[in-house]
Amino acid sequence: MTAPMALVARGLEVTRGGRRILEDVSLGVGPGEFLCLLGPNGGGKTTLLKAVLGLVPSRGSIELFGSAAADGRGRVGYLPQRKGFAHDFPATVCELVVAAQRARWPWRVRPAERERAAAILAQVRGEALIDRPLSSLSGGETQRAFLARALVNDPPLILVDEPLAALDTRGREDLLAILAELAARDETAAIIVTHEPETVTRIADRVAYLDVRIRASGAPGAVLEDPVLQAAAFAGADHTHLGR
């Protein structure tokens, strides 16, 4: 029996303040598939991820792992671009990861939970971070910690929003390598929002170009052969020249 599609979205629409952010967006992500989502700034990429997670109201249908979205959302990991956490919150990386495991903030971390957190941090090359206060982490370290948080429950689908943003060269290399390892294992499907050509080259099974609507979708090479799309996707250019 084949595994169900990780995500099937049909006719998704999101409107905010009278402005259409997403319009008639339909896409699917197969089990173990890495879909890179490209598009200009303001094109609705982050909103799409949030609509899948139920963080913004939307119309249309969303199915996760063959079931209604509400039933499947607990099995989706999420690495947001903008980290909205309280940076002065007194907590360690271990507590951050365990909170995702338990779906509650831990009063005390149990030995088995700490072991699991250590294992998942090792996967993202962040084992040394386990007892570090969150307030002491660099940008790259924060990304690793939050990626570990997103992966701790072995989600069959993760949503990753601009993972390389605000990282230095070394940090980008490291994180890209981690995502490439994840992609190679074929156990986890992903939607990766990115402006980085290297991300597409190294990890994408498929690419979709979103600018309020899905403008193109297919194998990375096929989509990116269009020079206009390529320029717009990787330069974060304005979308007006695409004739909306």
Binding site: L53, L55, R73, G74, Y78, P80, K83, G84, F85, A86, D88, F89, P90, A91, T92, E95, A99, A100, R102, A103, R104, W105, P106, W107, R108, P133
Partner: protein
């Protein structure tokens, strides 16, 4: 003295525990605002003919409604919390002042000093029972909600993804803060109750890097300061509320100084003990 000690410990512990979240969420103005808003409820109770003690029972739902209104105004208008608090507490306080004036001329005089600074040493059996019940219920509620409150305080979006009902929890938190503040206004007064909420929590945050330890430390500090401050005020024959607050202030100053020394040693590359 025993009644005062029990009332002070119960109210203080409840203030300190909720205070950890008040401080973490940057809502220190909330406790000040709700204490002043409680004055409106007390004024209403006195106008309706209730005694000073009984009017606190009217102040409790009144202040809870003001707290919920702060939440509703903030969510619907997008105003920052301090603005929503500022508007509602000013209006409530003004209402209390007006209602006090509207009382019949032959009404019993109001002990304004007790209202503003509390009368811990004058706590009656009835007031003690009410304080123990209210503080006990608040402590239990915060203890039961602690892990969800902590998660929502850390990151509301991630907490929501984990199934925490963030909006509902915010209203529950506001209502609990109102209940704790009103319970404590009777003992330490409108002016000083926010000190019971803020200072132990702020001190605990200086001393530890874990929220759970900060919660325990805040309660411990408050309980110790209440006991020592009450005894000192009794033997020195001075007001108990201000004595306790001054003691808390001294502990905060000491924690700040110790933290400053640790930061200097860190900068000089010395080996530091592990975080508390």
């Amino acid at each position: 003295m025993r009644r005062a000690l029990l009332a002070g410990l119960a109210a203080g512990a409840a203030c300190a525990l909720i205070g950890v979240f008040v401080v973490q969420r940057g809502l220190s103005f909330l406790s000040e605002g709700l204490a002043h808003a409680a004055f409106g409820g007390i004024g209403l109770g006195l106008l309706l003919g209730a005694s000073g003690e009984q009017s606190a029972w009217i102040a409790l739902p009144f202040t809870v409604v003001v707290a919920l209104a702060i939440g509703a105004v903030r969510r619907s208008s997008g105003l920052r919390p301090d603005a929503a608090i500022g508007v509602l507490f000013s209006v409530s306080f003004a209402l209390g002042a007006l209602l006090l004036q509207l009382r019949p001329r032959n009404s019993a005089p109001v002990d304004v000093e007790a209202l503003l600074f509390g009368s811990l040493l004058a706590v009656s059996d009835g007031a003690l029972l009410a304080t123990l019940l209210a503080a006990g219920a608040s402590l239990l509620a915060v203890a039961l909600l602690w892990s969800r409150l902590a998660y929502a305080s850390f990151d509301p979006e991630l907490a929501a993804l984990s199934g925490v009902p963030v909006a509902l929890l915010e209203y529950a938190f506001l209502a609990l803060t109102a209940a704790v503040v009103v319970t404590s206004v009777r003992t330490v007064g409108v002016v000083l109750v926010s000190a019971f909420v803020i200072i132990p929590a702020a001190t605990a945050r200086l001393a530890t890097g874990r929220l759970s330890r900060a919660s325990l430390l805040a309660v411990t500090l408050q309980v110790a300061a209440t006991a020592v401050g009450l005894l000192a005020s009794y033997y020195l024959d001075v007001a108990s509320g201000p004595t306790i607050v001054l003691l808390l202030g001294g502990v905060f100053a000491a924690a700040l100084a110790l933290r400053g020394r640790s930061a200097t040693r860190d900068a000089e590359g010395e080996q530091l003990p592990p975080p508390v």
